[in-house]
Amino acid sequence: MAIRSFFAPFLFFALCSYSSLTPVLSLYEDQVGLMDWHQQYIGKVKQAVFSTQKTGRRRVIVSTEENVIASLDLRHGEIFWRHLLGSNDVIDGIDIGLGKYVITLSSGGSVLRSWNLPDGQMMWESSLQGPKHSKSLLLVPTNLKIEKDNVIVVFSNGRLHAVSCIDGEVLWNKDFEAESFEALQVIQPPGSDLIYVVGFAASSQFEMYQINARNGELLKHERATFSSGFLREVSLVSSETVVALDSTGSILLTISFQNGEISFQQTPISSLVEDPSGPAVIIPSSVPGIFAIKTNAFTIFIRVIGEGKLEVVEKTNHETTVSNVLPISEGQQAFALVQHAGSEIHLAVKIAHDWDGNLLKESIKMDQQRGLVHKVFINNYIRTDRSHGFRVLIVMEDHSLLLLQQGAIVWSREDGLASVIDVTASELPVERDGVSVAKVEHNLFEWLKGHMLKLKGTLMLASPEDVAAIQSMRLKSSEKSKMTRDHNGFRKLLVVLTRAGKLFALHTGDGRIVWSHFLQSLHKSGTCQSPIGLNLYQWQVPHHHAMDENPSVLVISRCGPSSDAPVVLSFVDTYTGKELNSLSLVHGVVQVIPLPYTDSTEQRLHLLIDSDKHAHLYPTTSEALRIFKREFSNIYWYSVEDHNGIIKGHALKCKCTDEAADEFCFDTRDLWSVVFPSESGKIIATVTRKLNEVVHTQAKVIADQDVMYKYISRNLLFVATVAPKGSGEIGSVTPEESWLVAYLIDTVTGRILHRVTHHGARGPVHAVFSENWIVYHYFNLRAHRYEMSVIEIYDQSRADNKDVWKLVLGKHNLSSPISLFSRPEVITKSQSYFFTHSVKAIAVTSTAKGITSKQLLVGTIGDQVLALDKRFLDPRRSVNPTQAEKEEGIIPLTDSLPIIPQSYVTHALRVEGLRGIITVPAKLESTTLVFAHGVDLFFTQLAPSRTYDSLTEDFSYALLLLTIVALVAAIFVTWRLSERKELQDKWR
């Protein structure tokens, strides 16, 4: 740190940082939860199995689309235990075996695991191999035993396995050699030793295998051909009958394979329903005797009445979801139906053979923001009067999970937050007189009481109860969860877009959901079957009009993954969560470029590039157009085509020449292109600086009062390419055939400013770009270790600005605008270090003014966030730094980066499935807000150079006050005493 500053405020700062050359940012145990919060989620539930054992705690086991298996408390929805499987270990099915083991089948049916139900410990794991890839099915029969051993039947990889429930040993297996056989159901009729495997072969052939469950012996193999083919879904209506649809979706086929004889019954849908309106699909279910089909307009429930005769029992145009089947007593099976009707959902529990009678019928008011019911799981309990009570677990369109019981929502979990796509921060409303936003404000007495308690704690007079009270008071401090802006800028809203298409606003103080909004454009609808949210942008951030304008965000959503698909722009007010406006665009969008210009209402100008390379300006106002025209010739854009290895630069040309185009559409022309030949390199990572990053200074003062000028450009792109072989699996390439090339490309001119090759290195590359430096992480094949490299870029053309008098008088050109077309002379410095962990994400702290030193935030493979001081990644480190360099704060060079256990930002917590780390500057310069998201969410405040500009949180104001009062009292008393003494002296 430079001690050469003349100015007193800096001197203090300099002294502070000088005295803390190696700051260790650790936390005391009682500080956990003061600044940070951690929320655990599981993701959208795919499958739920209720624990049937009469254990004290009722539990439900769920598997989710985030690859989590979890055990939830049925009373409160809390997580008992949870396991996150790897992203290439997708869960195919779960079930409960023997009442105490959770059986999971994952990895495309090749890994079968058993977990202990009460505590989630893994009991055994077995690997199931097979001849070919196929659909995987898991069946845990309740009463199929082989030599006192319960059996799990798994069909996976074209092979049927019977696995022991106790130790995971494969008892027998049976291959299904037939090339095109595709199993759809594995059926084990209760009370028999037979297993049926039914499926299709060659799209028009139905096959049935009858297998002895005891030894895997093939008893019977029947096949039947149906000329017009099948749709790939079947519904099981009894243990020896399935219902399928033909390939046109207009004829229902009841296939019965009683006693090994296959027989078809064809029933055209039109004979059941007058107006089927289009092809139908079967809703997969296994309710005995009843199945459901869905056409464009209706959901139709059909009953099978012996010998393949069908009868429609209900036809409804409401959205309907059918649950799993729950055996409630001998021969009786119940299932639940959930139907939407306006703002309510109707829940009906029926017995399988009695459609018209309802065991239960309830209407529950449902928040419109949750969308449709996607999945229903039913469970029963015995009431005190021996009757059956039912509870259902429903999964909504926004991925939330709710438990309904007795006509009410017992608990709900916002599991959409497990799949965050994009995050942006927004300010809270300004505190205004008359607007009572602070409901949590407490009275003076409580304030005093709190401070007295704190004081007792400081003076070590507190009893254990007091300590607990102090701790809970600190954690629940109303100050941090207020709904207004604070002086330090710690309180903000995190606006989060989830994969389900729901927007959430989380309060940074305690992580609660302030509002949530399911965007209309992201609802599944007739016009768009699979809408996806793409990104969030800050649309309007009012500073000048902060009192009367609300900030808003722009959400870009697209119908499907294709780049031509229709796009909807939605504008959402971040204070209220109201959708202000939504625009359906006539053009597609491949790029969204926020421009560094705002109009008079502080709306940011955005340029949307469509697939024909036309640029469209938003907002579509004449003022925006005027601002845009003024900067027209200075706006460029580039596109990275990573699949064919080309980076192209474009400039704006003129108004669109199309007839239909409006005045906000512009043609573009190609300026330059950088081609990476496919035999030498494949683009695996591109990183730019964050648009909103603030850099305090362009000069870097080094030892001996020398100056280096940083090359700070917003238009630099870091590109990493690897040898084509090196992008495959780990272990597939030798060090000789693998290399990694890092490029720094100027995106305006296409000039390559720097290039460096790492021989024997391979991806994946994670990089972060800030100020004038890039840090990237890759694997070194020669050393068999991960490495991190840093590149710092300096501007040599400014280096001769060394005349003090010129600088004093301001006669220099250091602050005049620069054009990138003037050739920059840059020099780079770089260094590489070993790093122990593999990395999931890298981010860098960002502060309001950019003065505070930086820390890298590394999301490690253990799902933790490690704060690594940037000074460890300084290319000027050397083995023996000189005295001046030491004074400057340069750390002696070591070959690997230190991992200090105290510098884990997440301390003892884990952010399961960590995907991204976002930093937001607080108003207080020393502090930055960090938000890490994955399946879990974690938020904390960081002060990379400690809080040099504010008192710490545990500063005792009461003690200060008391000291002042005591001093004043002492002054008063001594004054009186001296008065008296003087008087006595005079009387002597």
């Binding site: 050469r4 491949v590 421009l595 854009w637 990275v640 305090h696 000028y709 005049s816 620069i818």
Partner: protein
């Protein structure tokens, strides 16, 4: 004072009046002692007082030179202290340096006052004053030099550009991998 008054007010035991009442003999109730003539005291006033004044002005000039040379000792002491303080910035060295700067400045401000007692029409004060100023300036220079060795003077380019914001770029480019 108050004390005295208080005592006077209540009841005096004894008091000495030092006021010279010689100019008003009529008010005196005590006659002059024998052999004392009031006129003789004023007789050769001119010669005696001239002698007295010469001695006094000599003494004053001598004193003035002494006072003028006093900062020199100070200077030596300061130099020693600075040497002791070392060249790193910490509380002690900063304190020493600032006192080394402050002392000469305050002394220079009070140049008139320092030589006030020796002001005389016969005494040439310009010489001592110049010496005093020169020595104090020397002290000031020493302080500034110390400040510089501590690196607290903005004499390097780095001191002037360390908070210079980055230059604005004319062009702007955005984009990236297609959504």
């Amino acid at each position: 004072m108050e004390k005295g008054k208080g005592v006077m007010g209540s009841g005096r035991r004894w008091a000495v009046d030092f006021s010279d009442n010689s100019t008003a003999p009529s008010s005196r109730d005590i006659p002059d002692p024998p052999g004392f003539t009031r006129a003789s005291a004023d007789q050769d006033d001119s010669t005696v007082s001239r002698q007295k004044k010469d001695a006094e002005s000599n003494w004053k000039a001598q004193k003035a030179w002494e006072v003028a040379q006093a900062p020199f000792k100070n200077l030596l002491m300061m130099g020693f202290m600075m040497w002791m303080a070392g060249n790193t910035v910490h509380l002690f060295s900063i304190g020493i340096t600032f006192s080394a700067l402050w002392q000469p400045i305050s002394a220079l401000q009070g140049v008139g006052k320092v030589f006030e007692p020796y002001k005389d029409s016969k005494v040439e004060l310009l010489g001592p004053k110049l010496l005093f100023i020169a020595l104090n300036l020397g002290g000031l220079a020493l302080g500034v030099w110390k400040l510089n060795t501590l690196g607290l003077l903005p004499t390097h380019a780095s001191d002037w550009v360390s908070s210079l914001p980055p230059a604005q770029e004319v062009e702007y480019s955005g984009g990236g991998i297609p959504l």
